[in-house]
Symmetry: C3
Amino acid sequence: MQHTCYRIALSVGMLATFAALGHAGDQDRPNIVVILCDDLGYADVGFNGAKDITTPQLDQLAAAGTIFTSAYVTHPFCGPSRMGLMSGRYPHSFGAPFNLPNSGQGFEDYNRQGIDPNETLISTVLQDAGYYTGAIGKWHMGYEHPFHPNQRGFDEFYGFLGGGHQYFPDRYRPIYERQIRAGKTTINDYIAPLEHNGKTVDETEYITDGLSREAVRFVQSAGDRDQPFFLYLAYNAPHSPLEAKVEDLARFAGIKDKKRQTYAAMVYAVDRGVGQLVQTLKNSGQFDDTLIVFLSDNGGKIGLGANNGPLREGKGSTHEGGYRVPMFFHWPGKVPAGDRYHHPVSALDFYPTFARLAKAEIPATKTLNGKDIWDDLLAGRSARQGEMIFALRHRSGYSDVGARRDAWKICRTAQTPWKLFHLDDDLGETHDLSAAYPEKVAAMVAEAERWSRDHTTPRWFDDEEAEQRWLETGMPNYNATFEVK
Amino acid sequence: MQHTCYRIALSVGMLATFAALGHAGDQDRPNIVVILCDDLGYADVGFNGAKDITTPQLDQLAAAGTIFTSAYVTHPFCGPSRMGLMSGRYPHSFGAPFNLPNSGQGFEDYNRQGIDPNETLISTVLQDAGYYTGAIGKWHMGYEHPFHPNQRGFDEFYGFLGGGHQYFPDRYRPIYERQIRAGKTTINDYIAPLEHNGKTVDETEYITDGLSREAVRFVQSAGDRDQPFFLYLAYNAPHSPLEAKVEDLARFAGIKDKKRQTYAAMVYAVDRGVGQLVQTLKNSGQFDDTLIVFLSDNGGKIGLGANNGPLREGKGSTHEGGYRVPMFFHWPGKVPAGDRYHHPVSALDFYPTFARLAKAEIPATKTLNGKDIWDDLLAGRSARQGEMIFALRHRSGYSDVGARRDAWKICRTAQTPWKLFHLDDDLGETHDLSAAYPEKVAAMVAEAERWSRDHTTPRWFDDEEAEQRWLETGMPNYNATFEVK
Amino acid sequence: MQHTCYRIALSVGMLATFAALGHAGDQDRPNIVVILCDDLGYADVGFNGAKDITTPQLDQLAAAGTIFTSAYVTHPFCGPSRMGLMSGRYPHSFGAPFNLPNSGQGFEDYNRQGIDPNETLISTVLQDAGYYTGAIGKWHMGYEHPFHPNQRGFDEFYGFLGGGHQYFPDRYRPIYERQIRAGKTTINDYIAPLEHNGKTVDETEYITDGLSREAVRFVQSAGDRDQPFFLYLAYNAPHSPLEAKVEDLARFAGIKDKKRQTYAAMVYAVDRGVGQLVQTLKNSGQFDDTLIVFLSDNGGKIGLGANNGPLREGKGSTHEGGYRVPMFFHWPGKVPAGDRYHHPVSALDFYPTFARLAKAEIPATKTLNGKDIWDDLLAGRSARQGEMIFALRHRSGYSDVGARRDAWKICRTAQTPWKLFHLDDDLGETHDLSAAYPEKVAAMVAEAERWSRDHTTPRWFDDEEAEQRWLETGMPNYNATFEVK
């Protein structure tokens, strides 16, 4: 980690600059807290119907806020989804449709990559507008300069840079130390030490608890400042490895499936942390001035304990289970309480919506694919009548696509013909109506094809073979993808 | 490209040496132009029956020359096929039965490999005999000293060293530049700059047009010399990526399949270039003194727009579609005009045939697998009555083989039993006659096995796993391959 | 091989120390010779029923000793099996459940790994007890310090460090030399030169003969010493590549299947070497004082000429064919002659049994999974009544398991449900009795699960992807593996 010093220097410099600007906190600009879970299934929180998994803290917030039943992320995989959320653009447009490989997977060249430096993230916009900003947890948008969170709008970063992590320090630290002793040159992210602003730290708690502790600390220290704050709290739970604390497992002893039991205990640990965070906000009198957004980065992973409820398939799919996620907004007296908002929204919308609430200026050159949904949310009307929300996943030699417009969705997977679903009548995507509405299919596919035209060559790939294939043939089977037969 | 300077120095040195030798051109030694297409299907030129793809320039040459209906290359893949053509030997005999991996595929060790330095290529033979020699387009026989074309008998080289390339400089250059800026250490060949005699150039034209332009330039400059010339014009078209100019696409608007449309436009761009080359030869009065050979390096790739007509399968196969290629010879007043030659010939035959026409001396130690077919061509009789032509492709753990003797062919693919076909009666290889002629099968398989005995350990492999498997077990399933059950 | 000097220095140092200790040989402590074959099938020696393969020397020893019909190794693959034998522990317990990748397979980090330095091997125990120790043949337990045999209890090492080797020096040396000339940085173990105590040697004989020659030399030089000796003679035969001497092939001309013929000739070459070794022992009067143990490291590889007889499947399987091996003990007047011992024993038992015979001290901190079987062997009774012998192989995302207790065995492969077999009645594992004895299955699976609890994260993996998967999810599908449905 040769870049450590650089990062610290920069971070200190940013803080200094910031203090000089002397932004004052103001009551009409809310603090913003985004709580992001990792691979959390649509139906794996109480507020979305989970019975075996209990999430009392989340449920209480959800009940006092608005639950979004049709919230989408920008990609059915972690990395691209996060980049879409932070940039306000579909990741395909700036070369990020693949997960950034983890260190230790043998793609060293790619490890020098990260989210396009030309993309100004919402964190920078809020930071520039006087927010005190913190990212806690999983980053997965790049390792080195200029991709590190401290260089992308975050005054504080505590967590890990890769795509996941083991949960018990006393289990992973010995493996890490043995590999270091053995002279291994690339250490897998899952076992590397956590860091704080580029400096390695010796985390000793179960990771979820450690991240909650840091979130509490951030909120406390932010409370001492004369600024609103933006906290991006990205738990890696309940992403694999499935590792839970004994006491949390005991709480779910009634769940016979061991994976589900562990998964439940991991989600519960998040819920406990959310409770601590809420209590801290209340204690410091900031709760009423804070917009809390909770969501998952993509669907739950089938076979690893998750449950996406009525939605078809899960993580990785362009069916609903892949990229429609559990989500709520909570802000006392501002966000409607006890409501469910059924119109489609996207994580793309956070950027312009947050910027508006923060009275922040978005750079004139910034391209955004989402929209400020605030007024529509308050009015309970759709923010994108007649407009499409997309998902596109490249696979080995072909691509899966999902595209929704109002109640209709077209979907193509595994090189089978395009299907058409009416989501209001058929949330589970079981009745293909394409034969009955060929013109609708053709029109929607044509729109998806138009959408895809600004997609660029990925900046990194799953592997070298994928890169070779892409450079040789372009987007996997582009023509075939948007062909209607 | 640290070897750039070295190459230039050497190249200049060679030219100097050459001038000192003072070879004079003579009227009875023809100029020789080999126009090689990449992955062009058997039926994808007008002279072989294409209706949707128009190739007026090629058709005109073909009609004024002799079309070979049974022309074979030495391997159903690009790299080995080219090495067979240039060396006059089956590539399996000098360790080249696999494609040389492209840069950026992660096999850096293999990138230091290339066609066996002990093999004297036909280019060197012709160069030594006083020909001015040029290679334009795709090389794919090695990157560094001593594999670079300027070190293998070519006074001039313009093109790229890898196995393929993107076609539009304004599309691939930004990707290349971004990767360079990002510090990527291995750049994929498909997006790297072209070169001229080892020196990077800034090509700006659609690649096919750029190569045609350079071929015209070479012929013009050769015309000023008192030497005959040898031009190896190796278009990468219509190899993937499928990228064509808008105006060429427009010409094939009637083709509904987008891949086929693009493919057709790419072939047409080659035809346009051939027209320019022919016009240049005519303008400079060299046309009548020039033998033009046109062919493909292997069968067209199924699923990428190609059509191998009546032949079974395509690129990569040891059925006819994999390695029987469209071909013609043209030389006014010398090569029979308007003829079709149906006897089997091989790209292996170029070496001795060209050498004879060029009155060039073949090194006494040179092993050749082909034969001088000139007299037989003029006489319209078979050059290899009772002799075999082979194809052998190693796959993961087994090998596919094709071997033709006169009208009979044995073929083994995918570890199924040997099949026997009578090509005169069954060009499409649909009727397996092995049960009716078991002794013929046994005799032909035995001959193929004898042929394979001088095959050596490959100098490079598809991947490290293939190398390990080979070093551990020898030629994939050698015994099983030549077993007749 | 920068470590060469270091190794030599160390080796010399050890010898010096040893001489200083002045251990004297004593008549009641036997010499111990372990002859290990590589991938030799259960039924591929005369003493286990082979008719087409003749092994007269082995048969004679077996007939004069005790044949073990239920001898198990610790893993169905070479590397882990050897590490289990040498350490006396299941390899899963110290991070070695995978084969150590060969050099040249692209896992350079792993090449710096090897058998856990904290494991004191039986060779060290015997060396410390005054034995003169030698390892000849295949090592496969690590390349560099501190994994080299000279650093793991062997006064002498002659052979190769990787997982296999080609057999004919005049075939592999030219490939090696060509790669060196070409600047290849990683040379595949199969073609690298052999070494003697860390110093490259120029072996010229067919490898099996070369190893036999060195074994004879070791025994002769050991005979001059006033110490008992321990010889670990690890032939790589009949592991692939299938390469045999012409004269040995001729002896098996009657075998029509070429693989089987070659395999037979390779086994015969081992038998010849064993004969030479026995003759040397007799000539020097050491034969009666020598315990000879013969076995295979795992089952024969299906499709490469091996025959595991009545056992189901072969190398790599957790059915009996994968890890039950041909074995005998021979020690005139000590080991019962002409006997067959049918109770289950394990290569794990060598360590404590040898130590007892050698009156050697096992470090107090050493964990052993096997037991001293000497008394039980002499008494003809089971050494582990009611105790389990395990096999566990991790695959891509799941694990295969076999566990035997007395006559019963549970087995799970390819993610199918657990099966139960009664080996006394059903040696071929064809009749699954799990439905009839669900409680027995549950109890045995529970015991296997308990056994697996001390398994640690592997120190190396098959490939980087396997590492990532493991670090992310732990032992492939741990819960599912030990689930009884």
